[in-house]
């Protein structure tokens, strides 16, 4: 005779079914009511990024139901399986495996929800992964007519201000920062699945010399690994930079969600300082935040000069450069195939750092970007003359933009987006016209020199 379902499980299942019914039939209305009451709080919590709070509540309701479904599903499975398996000899082994797999499946399901990442967000000390997924969730919640994702490394974060773009073009498109610190083209391949889930209409990819020099970007494997990304690595010829520990970590994190989530979980529950050291997740030490000592100081200051030298030494020119170019091509190819417009934005490092890089580095990068724009219909190369040329005051350190630099660069980008995506004639602010004309001359003379 079959065993009856325990009452608690039965009640939970009924409650879950009721929840889904409410979500399907009255989810929008419920979210609308909540949004009316809590609009201000949501807006404040997201720094004004969400103007309409209804999608936020609707999506969180769905997240909660998805997580609850995973938990109730695991519970029901245990109800069916555990009594039978318990009769086996050595039942501890299959049961241990079952519970471990279930916990990981639940974690994997949770990690696909914005609710989980909002819970992981710990303000200023949140882990980069948590920030990335929170930004992703907000981008989805924005319910924009035209969603433009801004991607790249931390440089993209310090040189492009999404709020400034949204203020200027907010009625017509919504820009969302989806950059990831230290990202290189291969890292973008790792992030591709996550980026596609946001379903952007266009992606603005900020690239500078830093994106191509210095290694393969394999350090992000443990955070975003997938079987596809691992096979990409071999296919693209990354063996020269093969790192057994990183690849092993990558495989483990691809198979065990708990391992993949260890850094954000540790950071959330134990605090920033208790996260595994960079060596463990194989993040290079030099990608850690720059010492404040080098910020906002004169260009000829010995400390700044020393930092320039250190950075230049780190940017090694070699085989990984070609690897990154190949990875970028694959990324462009896939974006093109997915019907996403990809705008390749040539970014820049501090002029003094650029001068220290191997000769021809920038020219080669620009030529590759231009080539991609020519080969793929949906890939658009943005000529660097259309963007402001940044100078010392625009940088807070040799690679990252200052507030002033961010404002200037974003202003230039706004005009590019207005023209490229909205098809409008660019309205150039006075400051940009001046800068753009100066920088255009500079670029021309630079080009001639090259």
């Amino acid at each position: 005779m079959p065993r009856p379902l325990p009452r608690l499980l039965l009640a939970s299942t009924a409650l879950l079914a009721l929840g889904w019914t409410v979500y399907v039939l009255a989810g929008d209305a419920l979210a609308g009511v909540l949004a009316d009451r809590l609009r201000g709080a949501v807006r404040a919590a997201t720094d004004g990024k969400l103007r309409d709070a209804a999608p936020f509540f609707l999506h969180r309701l769905r997240d909660a139901l998805v997580i609850a479904a995973a938990i109730v599903g695991a519970w029901a499975l245990n109800w069916a399986v555990v009594p039978r398996v318990s009769k086996w000899k050595g039942a501890w082994l299959p049961l241990g495996a079952l519970f471990f797999v279930e916990a990981n499946v639940i974690l994997a399901v949770m990690a696909r929800t914005g609710l989980f990442w909002f819970a992981m967000y710990a303000g200023g000390s949140a882990h980069d992964v948590s920030r990335f997924y929170v930004r992703q969730a907000i981008a989805t919640d924005a319910n924009a007519e035209r969603l433009v994702g801004i991607i790249g490394s931390s440089q993209a974060g310090t040189q492009i201000d999404e709020d400034q773009i949204n203020e200027a073009l907010g009625d017509d498109l919504y820009a969302a920062q989806l950059n990831f610190p230290a990202a290189k083209p291969y890292s973008l391949l790792l992030l591709q699945d996550d980026l596609e889930r946001v379903r952007p209409d266009a992606l603005v990819l900020y690239l500078s010399e830093v994106s191509f020099l210095r290694g393969t970007g394999l350090e992000h494997l443990p955070l975003f690994a997938s079987a596809g990304a691992l096979s990409d690595f071999a296919r693209l010829g990354g063996e020269a930079d093969w790192d057994r520990d990183r690849v092993r970590n990558g495989w483990i994190s691809a198979a065990v969600p708990a391992y993949r989530l260890r850094s954000p979980l540790s950071q959330r529950f134990l605090g920033r300082t208790s996260v595994p050291r960079p060596a463990e997740m194989n993040l290079p030490d030099d990608d850690l935040p720059n010492p404040k000592a080098i910020q906002d100081i004169a260009e000829d200051d010995p400390i700044f000069q020393a930092e320039l030298e250190r950075r230049a030494r780190l940017l090694i020119y070699g085989e990984p450069v070609d690897f990154q170019y190949r990875a970028l091509e694959v990324f462009a190819q896939r974006a093109d195939a997915a019907g996403i417009d990809l705008y390749l934005l040539p970014g820049t490092v501090h002029p003094a750092l650029e001068a220290r890089l191997p000769e021809g580095t920038r020219a080669q990068m620009l030529s590759v970007l231009r080539g991609l724009g020519e080969r793929y219909e949906r890939v658009h190369y943005v000529e660097e003359a259309r963007l402001p040329r940044l100078e010392h005051a625009d940088f807070k350190d040799p690679a990252h933009g200052s507030k002033r630099g961010q404002e200037r660069f974003t202003a230039g980008l706004v005009e590019v987006l207005r023209e490229e995506i909205l098809g409008e004639t660019p309205v150039r602010p006075d400051s940009l016209v001046t800068v753009a004309s100066v920088s255009s001359e500079t670029h021309q003379s630079d080009g001639a020199a090259r």
């Binding site: 501890w92 049961l95 495996a97 391992y259 540790s266 134990l270 060596a279």
Partner: protein
């Protein structure tokens, strides 16, 4: 090869599989001997020569002692018999302690002599040797010595089979960091056929997993915090840091060493061997005497049986007992390492144990304390009945833990790299208890400390249940396995950090 390495994760299943394929005890023993030598030789094959030397000498000495005893006959007068046997014992002591002294104490003695001569205005001129300490030498030396002493005392017979004895000396699960097994308990297990026991195998697998949690989660996570706190001998972290960083170190050593012991015992169980329990509830006790009944039990009982009692124990009255305690603990300190810091550490324990002995017999016992407090004194019995008893015990446990942090600081200062001042280190740490300046340096570490220290306390509180995993319900077993694996996956440190006690 260390337990928390990829090499061991491959080595263990291969050895276990082959071990059970062989079936016959004799073949299994030979195979385990080879596996043990491979395990140890993984560090440096040259160290195998030392183990082999110790094995050959003690095997021969014990055989000679047995032969002489038989030759003299059972009716021989005890004094005369001992006189006949003693030269053989001296051979064993000379060889074992000679090798140990050379490898472990040469640098210490030559350095101390050099310092002494320099302080007397003389310039020493002798060659210096870069002697490397072979891993685990203190452990297997004590193990073989106990065998020879037991045979000398007549409490056991010498072993006939050389290879069985060699396996006893080099049995890989406990070779490098104990437990220090007595021949009287391990040798019979080597000599007789082991039968596969499902429950023993299950308990073993669980102990290994538990040991890994203790090592890669508790010890290695808290070790990082402790390292940060004590990277300078002029700290400025206030009373909170003084507590937090030293407590982190205490839990680190517990997690590290008891984790190693669990993995060792678990591995042995997989093959049908039972090794002694090396750790009880060292942070749930209320006095220094109880601490040594719960901490590194195989060493403390060794010191008691082969040092303290032969010295006279408490047979000569209180003064003799205090003296013997102090000598035993100083030598116990020197067993841990060659350095004045360890001598100080041993002296500290000797004095503390003596004070406790005096206090519990002459002061505490005569005061009409409430029952709860009385229960918590002297004996390791934990008050479980009644709220007042439980509260009294919890207060005493906490108080003793905080007081005993000084022990951990002296211990840590003993392992400082050369050039650091141990005295400055300890004195500055004590000074931090009386200041609030800089306590914000310690606050970011509190969540991690609380989580991992709670895990360490849970492991001690439930230590008996942990020993009998096979008696749990299957669902509870499965949950425990999954929880342990998840804890390792999320919080484990996978840098292959060596076990703390390897340096001893």
């Amino acid at each position: 090869m260390i337990f928390n390495s990829l090499a061991f994760l491959v080595f263990l299943p291969v050895v276990i599989g082959a071990y059970y394929l062989l079936r016959k005890a004799r073949l299994q023993n030979r195979f385990l001997l080879v596996a043990s030598y491979v395990f140890y030789g993984w560090w440096d094959w040259r160290f195998l020569l030392l183990i082999a030397l110790s094995t050959v000498v003690d095997f021969w000495v014990a055989r000679r002692i047995d032969a002489r005893r038989e030759a003299v006959g059972p009716d021989a007068e005890a004094g005369a018999l001992k006189k006949t046997l003693r030269p053989y014992l001296w051979v064993s002591l000379a060889v074992n302690l000679g090798v140990l002294s050379f490898f472990k104490y040469f640098n210490f003695f030559s350095g101390s002599a050099e310092d002494l001569m320099l302080s007397l205005g003389m310039t020493p001129d002798w060659p210096t040797l870069g002697v490397i300490l072979p891993v685990g030498i203190s452990f297997y030396t004590f193990q073989t010595l106990s065998y020879t002493v037991d045979v000398y005392r007549g409490t056991m017979r010498a072993v006939d089979d050389f290879f069985d004895f060699a396996l006893y000396v080099s049995f890989f699960p406990q070779l490098v960091a104990g437990p220090i097994e007595r021949a009287q308990t391990l040798m019979p297990q080597v000599q007789q056929a082991r039968t596969f026991s499902r429950s023993q195998f299950t308990d073993g697998a669980w102990l290994i997993l538990l040991g890994f949690v203790k090592k890669v989660v508790i010890a290695d996570q808290l070790g990082r915090i402790a390292d940060l706190g004590f990277q300078t001998d002029t700290p400025e972290y206030g009373w909170l840091g003084a507590f937090l960083f030293s407590a982190c170190f205490a839990f680190q050593v517990y997690g590290d060493f008891s984790g190693y012991s669990d993995i060792a015992r678990g591995t042995a169980k997989l093959m049908g061997f039972e090794l002694m329990i090396n750790f009880g509830k060292p942070f749930l006790i209320t006095n220094p005497s109880a601490f040594w009944r719960h901490w590194h039990i195989s060493l403390s009982t060794w010191l008691r049986d082969y040092l303290y009692i032969p010295l006279g124990g408490s047979r000569g009255g209180n003064t003799a007992a205090y003296r013997n305690l102090t000598i035993t603990m100083i030598l116990g300190g020197l067993w841990h390492g060659a350095g004045w810091g360890f001598v100080l550490w041993g002296l500290y324990h000797g004095v503390l144990l003596s004070i406790h002995r005096y206090w519990s017999r002459n002061v505490w016992a005569k005061v009409p304390w409430p029952q709860g407090l009385r229960i918590a004194t002297g004996k390791e019995q934990i008050a479980t009945r009644g709220i007042s008893n439980g509260l009294s015990h919890a207060l005493l446990v906490t108080g003793f833990f905080v007081f005993f942090l000084s022990h951990w600081m002296v211990f840590r200062s003993s392992t400082l790299p050369e050039g650091n001042s141990q005295w400055t280190y300890v004195v500055n740490w004590l000074g931090e208890w009386f200041t609030s300046a800089g306590i914000e340096q310690a606050t970011p570490w509190l969540p991690a400390f609380l989580l991992f220290a709670t895990l360490a306390m849970l492991a001690q509180w439930k230590d008996e249940a942990m020993e009998h995993f096979s008696t749990w319900t299957p669902a509870r077993q499965g949950l425990a396995i999954a929880a342990a694996l998840l804890t390792i996956a999320v919080f484990g440190v996978f840098e292959g950090t060596e076990f703390f006690y390897f340096q001893f």
